[in-house]
């Protein structure tokens, strides 16, 4: 999967490397600021009130 993605990134090595890092950052940001804030209240870890 990752090998396939790497082969389909355009440009020379340096450009590919930067594209890959940028993609990674975007994915982490979407997880941290969109997916996790939505998911966290649905999980039974942190109910504090009675």
């Amino acid at each position: 999967m990752y090998g396939w993605m790497w082969r389909h990134l355009p440009g020379p090595l340096v450009v590919r490397l930067f594209t890959a890092i940028a993609l990674l950052i975007v994915i982490v940001a979407v997880l941290l600021f969109v997916v996790f804030p939505w998911l966290e209240p649905k999980l039974p870890f942190n109910d504090v009130s009675v």
Partner: protein, 287 residues
């Protein structure tokens, strides 16, 4: 990889490799979620807490009487704080001199992300009855992370616009029976009552109110005016002034709640105390 080699890679290898990569990815995402819960939510919550702190300071600094037309009607702030707005501060000296949070009104997830939340319809600081406050134990600032480390007689200070209200943690279950002798060990305990009445069935109306309890999540009556007595056996004038802190238990679970009860022992006007640091000296806490 050369193109001829790639053709030789069988479908099975591709499937197994992709499955493995997905599994590893899933593991990394779960780890990232842990980092999010424990650290990222702290950062977000700290920003929100700073926001309400600024608002609270502004509102306390503003002159109270802003409606000159209604001089005869007491120009008071609304008796009930607005949902989501900060209206008081909580200090727990045992957790460090710099432990302080603005308490906001409401115990929904949006409010608790800002700071400890006040159960609506419970007493306000200093009033007879029970000031109910919920707070996170993990992440989101984790104001109540260390509630399990509180001992009897530790101070819980609530600051309002005009006063510091000093509550102290009530006797722990194993101390209740001979509290009068146990409390001698510490001068800070002098005014901490055991509200249990020895002669009465179940220790009287406050027989179940001790320093710390673990209860099931359905015990909404932990923040009742008389804790664990939803039928409210006492008229308001006879109710003790209590504070009740609630958080999740066990630390990373939600099967139970940890409850800490404190009783009001002191009211110090802010004009008299000056600052929180000065108050600590007045009430015999290490400064």
């Amino acid at each position: 990889m050369g193109s001829r080699q790639r053709q030789r890679t069988s479908a099975l290898v591709v499937i197994v490799r992709t499955f493995g990569e997905l599994m590893i990815t899933f593991g990394v995402v779960v780890l990232l979620f842990v980092v999010y819960t424990l650290y990222v939510t702290d950062i977000v919550a700290a920003k929100k807490q700073d926001g309400v702190n600024d608002e609270l300071e502004r509102s306390w600094a503003a002159p109270v009487a802003q409606q000159p037309a209604q001089q005869d009607k007491k120009p008071k702030r609304p008796a009930k704080p607005e949902q989501g707005a900060g209206f008081a501060r909580i200090y727990i000296p045992h957790f460090g001199k710099d432990f302080q949070f603005v308490i906001v009104e409401g115990v929904g997830s949006a409010e608790l992300e800002i700071g400890p939340g006040h159960y609506p319809d419970t007493a306000l600081p200093g009033q007879p009855g029970n000031v109910g406050i919920a707070g996170h134990r993990i992440g989101k600032g984790a104001p109540f992370n260390d509630l399990d480390k509180l001992n009897s007689c530790d101070a819980i200070v609530l600051e309002t616009e005009t006063d510091f209200f000093v509550y102290r943690v009530m006797p722990m279950p194993d101390e209740v029976a001979n509290w009068e002798s146990v409390k001698q060990r510490d001068p800070r305990c002098a005014r901490v009552p055991s509200l249990r009445k020895a002669g009465q069935p179940e220790g009287g109306p406050y027989g179940r109110t001790v320093g710390r309890r673990i209860v099931t999540p359905d015990r909404g009556d932990a923040v009742a005016p008389v804790p664990y007595r939803p039928e409210n056996p006492l008229p308001k004038a006879q109710q003790a002034s209590l504070v009740t802190l609630t958080t999740c238990h066990p630390e990373y679970g939600n099967s139970e709640r940890m409850i800490v009860h404190g009783a009001l022992v002191n009211q110090v006007p802010k004009q008299q105390a000056g600052s929180y640091e000065a108050l600590l000296g007045l009430i015999g806490e290490p400064v």
